[in-house]
């Protein structure tokens, strides 16, 4: 079995303490919630924080509150299983519960948290490998190396945004609360991510994500479609999130985000432009899908052939929009 590197484990009991200890711990200290992302990465030496600050003992980070009229708050260490099963979320934010159900396996959802999921490290077949494997290719720029093996002539890292909740939360327009020694701030989901495989968050390392805010349920409808090899547990190689406001059958507002086909959730603005102001019929859906796949940039660093993944963007956008138009079925869980 792969061995974890040795590290100091701290268990703060309040947000204030967690943030203070993080600052004391220096730049390499890391927060951990469920650990389903961090610990495997540590075993592979992708991250080797000498100090790990566990958030499991901070009650204020857990739980769900608010209502659908004004918006809900979900604590960052709320488990994904709770997000899947919580009666309030299932009733008022069913697309969020449904997207959470597509994440990994029941066992990992019992440990994994919603905060951890939205901050999930970007993934790549050249990066999510053991130290020895990565040494065989002289490492890559995301960790210890200088080249992006996916696109060697490119100056940037192309690791892939791989959280299922991120495209959906961007589409419906939630926000996060971040706390640091400098105080706290609220940031829209759409502004949390950057188009870079290494520096993929607009969050400072010492900022602690404490809450997620879901928008008021005021007439929008949304869905998330996920492509992966095995429905039992794979990461997305494409995620399509769509959120629409309809006036009768005319689209008034559209937000379409693509996950798994770039280093950040890609907003399919061309498709949104097609949708707004038109009747959500088959013609519009196909026209939007024809635009939606253009910004997708699947590369040879995930499962499946990249050309096929790009082709699938059209099919999945069509599926998602048909579902929202009432003419198509929801994806299978």
């Amino acid at each position: 079995m792969l061995r974890l590197p040795t590290f100091r484990y701290l268990r703060p009991e309040s947000v204030e303490q967690a943030v203070a200890w993080r600052t004391d711990g220096g730049p390499e200290a890391a927060f951990v919630a469920g650990g389903t992302d961090l610990y495997p990465n540590m075993k592979r030496r992708q991250q080797t924080p000498p100090i790990v600050i566990g958030l499991g003992r901070i009650p204020e980070l857990r739980g769900i509150s608010g209502d659908s009229d004004t918006g809900a708050r979900v604590g960052a260490t709320t488990t994904l299983t709770r997000v899947c099963e919580d009666p309030f979320l299932v009733e008022h934010y069913p697309e969020v519960s449904r997207a959470a159900r597509t994440i990994s396996t029941p066992l990992l959802r019992n440990m994994g948290t919603i905060g951890g999921n939205v901050l999930l490290d970007t993934r790549c077949n050249y990066y999510d490998q053991t130290y020895e494997w990565r040494r065989s290719i002289d490492f890559c720029m995301k960790k210890e190396g200088t080249i992006c093996w996916v696109a060697p002539s490119s100056p940037r890292c192309w690791a892939v945004q791989s959280s299922d909740l991120v495209p959906l939360l961007c589409a419906i327009g939630g926000s996060v609360r971040l706390v640091s020694p400098r105080g706290e701030r609220e940031l829209a989901f759409r502004d949390l991510y950057r188009d870079d495989g290494i520096d993929y968050l607009n969050k400072q390392p010492d900022e602690l994500l404490t809450d997620l805010r879901l928008p008021a349920r005021d007439g929008w409808r949304a869905t998330y479609w996920k492509l992966r090899r095995r429905e039992a547990f794979d990461f997305p190689v494409l995620g399509v999130a769509a959120c629409l406001r309809l006036d009768g059958d005319v689209v008034r507002e559209a937000h379409l985000y693509l996950g798994g086909v770039g280093s950040w959730p890609i907003e399919a603005t061309g498709a949104c432009d097609v949708l707004v102001g038109r009747r959500l019929d088959e013609e519009t859906i196909q026209a939007a899908a024809a635009q939606a796949y253009r910004p997708a940039k699947p590369l040879d660093n995930t499962d499946f052939h990249m050309t096929w993944r790009k082709h699938m963007v059209r099919r999945y956008v069509e599926g998602a929009l048909r579902e929202l138009s009432g003419d198509g079925a929801a994806p299978r869980d």
């Binding site: 079995m1 792969l2 061995r3 040795t6 077949n125 999510d128 490998q129 053991t130 130290y131 020895e132 494997w133 040494r135 065989s136 290719i137 093996w149 090899r229 095995r230 429905e231 039992a232 547990f233 794979d234 499962d303 499946f304 052939h305 050309t307 096929w308 082709h311 699938m312 099919r315």
Partner: protein, 816 residues
């Protein structure tokens, strides 16, 4: 068929009943002790430093920083163990640790023993190895290309990086094509894949102060590991080495070779005088590999209008990886079993295996035969379409007859394929549904056959392939000793069932001791589906001999003729007067009083092969199993995604020793085949130092229960005279037809051919797009490499006056 002593059929009490396995409770309650569960006092932990280069000369190894670490107890490098080993006598090309060069990313270079795993791992990281890279070979094409002596992966083999050529011709196939109404040519590619056992390989070695070495290991072949240890660790005598195979948490062929880590921990234990254990990481299991060879294939067959064959010419090109392993046998197997299902009057086979800088390929469930079976069954499906014949009926009309000899001198005994086809045709409502389902929905049929044990051992000898000893105790206890290894298939249970049936006792009262080279007679190992047939026969012989001794003693004591005695319900009694008898324990006591200590032995060796030519050793078996499968698919024409909701599988197992275990093997084989059919790929980045794409269980895609289809199993019982109670194999055969059945069903669903395994959505969609543009609706290989074959060995088939001997060789052939 079981008979009583007077020859009359006897009702079987154990055989044929769905009893639990003798080790089931320990397994389901988590109490079975696998190799990694073992600990010994003062035990050290070992780790291996593996090559980070695909092909390179080792310039320097600096272990000083590791040696200086507290807690490091021994560091082993290749020069200490210069003796090579390998599973086949013709491929002794592996070293415990690489000496002068490395041949793939993952090749072991240094072994470290330390007080705990963390220390060993850290020590490995502190070792510096300087390499001088050599040109690497990443594909079949590369492997067939000429190369300089310096760049050759091995300095043995046929030439350059070609490990082995095979060229066998049984009759003039060119002439047979002239006699045909239709000649069909196809090429196919079968991607490599690996076993993926749940249990990683683990081994624990303990060298004791009296100079004896014990190795516990998760191996399928303790006897061959014993031989390799004796060879490499000489002058340590073989008699001082004991290998104990622990229960395997899955093997599937991946634990059939002697492995570097087994020898390394043995030597480390000898150096330190302390027990040393290693458990490989999942990534290392991928590097051990020995799995399915990637094979490119070409087949040309002549057919008459009725679908009968006039002759077949088959070529296979195998990507062997960095070492020989079973590869020579694998190469022959890609050409051996094409003839045992449908009559092939004339047959030519050419095979080439090349070395490449990848983990070595070897035997995976079906060993070398699933790839050509895929080719053959899809090829036949295409021909049925061209001839306007029903693919099921075409096969039914042309079956190899039972008790016959094939063109390549394989002796077929019982042959239940016709019954298998009829079962799946009926079960799937083939006649009503095939070719008539709505667009996107399809049915596909394919068949297969597999050996019930290789007819020849891996190293040439005239000794038995399997031995069983029985010890009968005056308490009534029976202990059964056999070298066979339970890899989850239930071989320990089979021994108990057979002995219990003969002696009329409860199988759960028998103590089964297996897979221990000190305590048990040799059995060659759990490979080639040989165990039930061979150990079953050995156990049957030993048990019958024991019954004979007991019968003589009881007959005397009861004053009843021995032929009138029966053994049942834990008693020995007069069939004509059931009251007249005694308990089994009393019977043993009577025998012990009469003969002394009661122990019997049984052994088994397969019948001699009919072929006498060089290469005739691969393919013969005491009995062949047969399988027919119908797969149902749904293909989404928009995405190319293939779903397989249901598979009907009928398997001719001769006779079930335990029907529950037979069905378990059928379902397991279908599951593994489904993974190969749809997604599994053992692939490498040739342009990135030939690293494995994804040596992890997350990214190496294999189906989960969620992707698993429904399986409707039928067991055909057509007892074979060579099998114990008529039993044939079931461990490997049911896998074979899955891949071609799925590919054929995709064709029925959407009218495109994917002549490649796995059948991925991307390939299906490409073929659909080609179809939409009016091009050849197919994805598959479009060219074959050029090979300068050695002249063929010509062996006239039996019906052309052949005797099984080869004619003198002549000429050279070049093919493109």
């Amino acid at each position: 068929m079981a008979t009583s002593e007077n020859g009359a059929p006897r009702e079987l009490k154990v055989i044929g009943h769905p009893l639990r396995k003798v080790d089931a409770r320990a397994k389901v309650t988590g109490q079975t002790r696998f190799a990694d569960d073992l600990t010994l006092p003062r035990m050290l932990h070992a780790k291996l430093l593996r090559s980070t280069e695909a092909h390179a000369r080792i310039v320097r190894i600096d272990t000083s920083a590791a040696e200086a670490m507290p807690g490091v107890r021994a560091i082993l490098t290749g020069d200490v163990l210069p003796e090579p080993f390998g599973i086949l006598p013709v491929s002794q090309d592996e070293h415990t640790l690489c000496i002068d060069k490395v041949r793939f990313v993952g090749d072991p270079v240094v072994a470290v023993a330390a007080i705990d795993e963390d220390t060993a791992e850290e020590a490995v990281r502190r070792i510096v190895v300087e390499y001088e890279p050599l040109k690497h070979v990443a594909s079949i094409d590369d492997g067939l290309a000429p190369c300089s002596d310096a760049d050759r992966i091995h300095d043995y083999g046929t030439h350059d990086n070609v490990h082995k050529y095979v060229n066998l011709e049984f009759g003039d196939v060119e002439q047979s094509f002239e006699e045909a109404d239709l000649v069909q040519e196809d090429s196919f590619y079968f991607e490599g894949n690996t076993h993926l056992p749940m249990e990683q390989h683990a081994a624990l070695a303990a060298f004791d102060p009296d100079g004896k070495l014990t190795l516990w290991s998760s191996t399928q072949t303790p006897h061959y590991v014993h031989r390799a240890l004796a060879k490499v660790l000489a002058p340590l005598p073989a008699s001082h080495i004991r290998v104990i195979a622990c229960p395997n948490g899955g093997g599937f062929g991946g634990k059939s070779d002697p492995f570097n880590h087994e020898i390394a921990v043995a030597k480390l234990s000898m150096i330190t005088g302390r027990p040393v254990k290693i458990c490989l990481t999942r990534e290392e299991v991928f590097y051990c590999h020995r799995g399915r060879h990637p094979v490119l294939m070409w087949v040309k067959t002549g057919f008459k209008k009725d679908g009968s064959m006039t002759g077949m010419h088959f070529r296979s090109y195998l990507d062997g990886g960095a070492y020989g392993s079973y590869g020579v046998a694998s190469t022959f197997y890609t050409g051996a079993l094409q003839t045992v299902t449908y009559p092939v009057p004339r047959y030519k086979f050419q095979g080439a295996r090349v070395f490449t800088n990848k983990p070595p390929c070897g035997p995976k469930r079906g060993h070398g035969t699933p790839q050509p079976r895929f080719a053959l069954e899809v090829h036949l499906d295409k021909v049925a379409h061209r001839l306007g014949l029903d693919p099921a009926q075409m096969r039914l009309d042309h079956l190899v007859p039972p008790n016959s000899l094939t063109a390549n001198y394989l002796r077929v005994g019982s042959m239940g394929l016709g019954a298998c086809i009829e079962k799946v045709v009926e079960g799937s409502a083939w006649k009503e549904r095939y070719g008539k389902l709505p667009e996107g929905h399809g049915l596909g049929l394919a068949c297969g056959s597999y050996l019930s044990g290789a007819g020849l051992p891996i190293y040439w000898n005239r000794m038995p392939h399997s031995g069983v000893q029985l010890k009968l105790d005056r308490s009534g206890g029976v202990a059964c000793f056999c070298g066979s290894t339970d890899i989850g298939q239930g071989s320990d249970s089979v021994l108990a069932y057979v002995v219990a049936e003969v002696l009329g006792i409860d199988p759960f009262a028998i103590r089964v001791v297996t897979a221990d080279t000190d305590l048990t007679p040799v059995d060659l190992g759990s490979y080639s589906s040989r165990v039930t047939l061979m150990t079953g026969n050995a156990a049957l012989q030993a048990a019958e001999r024991a019954r004979e001794l007991l019968a003589q003693a009881v007959a005397k004591k009861l004053e009843v003729p021995a032929v009138r005695l029966t053994f049942a319900e834990g008693r020995v009694f007069d069939v004509e007067d059931a009251e007249r008898g005694m308990t089994f324990a009393e019977a043993v006591q009577a025998a012990e009083a009469k003969f002394g200590t009661i122990g019997t032995v049984g052994s088994y060796a397969p019948p001699a092969s009919a072929g006498k030519f060089k290469g005739a050793g691969v393919g013969p078996s005491p009995a062949y199993s047969y399988t027919a499968i119908v797969a149902e698919t749904f293909v989404d024409p928009e995405t190319g995604i293939v779903e397989v909701p249901r598979i009907w599988c009928a398997h001719d197992a001769g006779k079930c020793i335990n029907p529950a275990l037979v069905i378990g093997q059928i379902e397991g084989g279908v599951y593994m085949g489904l993974g190969e059919a749809l997604m599994e790929e053992m692939t490498y980045r040739g342009n990135r130092n030939v690293v494995h794409h994804h040596p992890s269980m997350l990214e190496y895609k294999s189906p989960t229960t969620h992707e698993m289809c429904d399986v409707i199993s039928y067991v055909i019982e057509d007892p074979d005279p060579n099998g114990p109670f008529g039993a044939k194999e079931v461990g490997q055969g049911p896998l074979l037809p899955v891949m071609p059945a799925v590919a054929n069903a995709v064709f029925d669903a959407v009218g495109v051919r994917v002549d490649e395994v796995p059948v991925t959505p991307e390939k299906v969609l490409r073929a659909l797009q080609a179809k939409a543009r009016g091009r050849d609706p197919r994805t598959g290989p479009t060219r074959l490499p050029e090979v300068a074959w050695r002249p063929p060995m010509r062996v006239p088939p039996p019906w052309e006056g052949g005797t099984g001997e080869a004619l003198p060789r002549e000429g050279v052939e070049v093919t493109k």
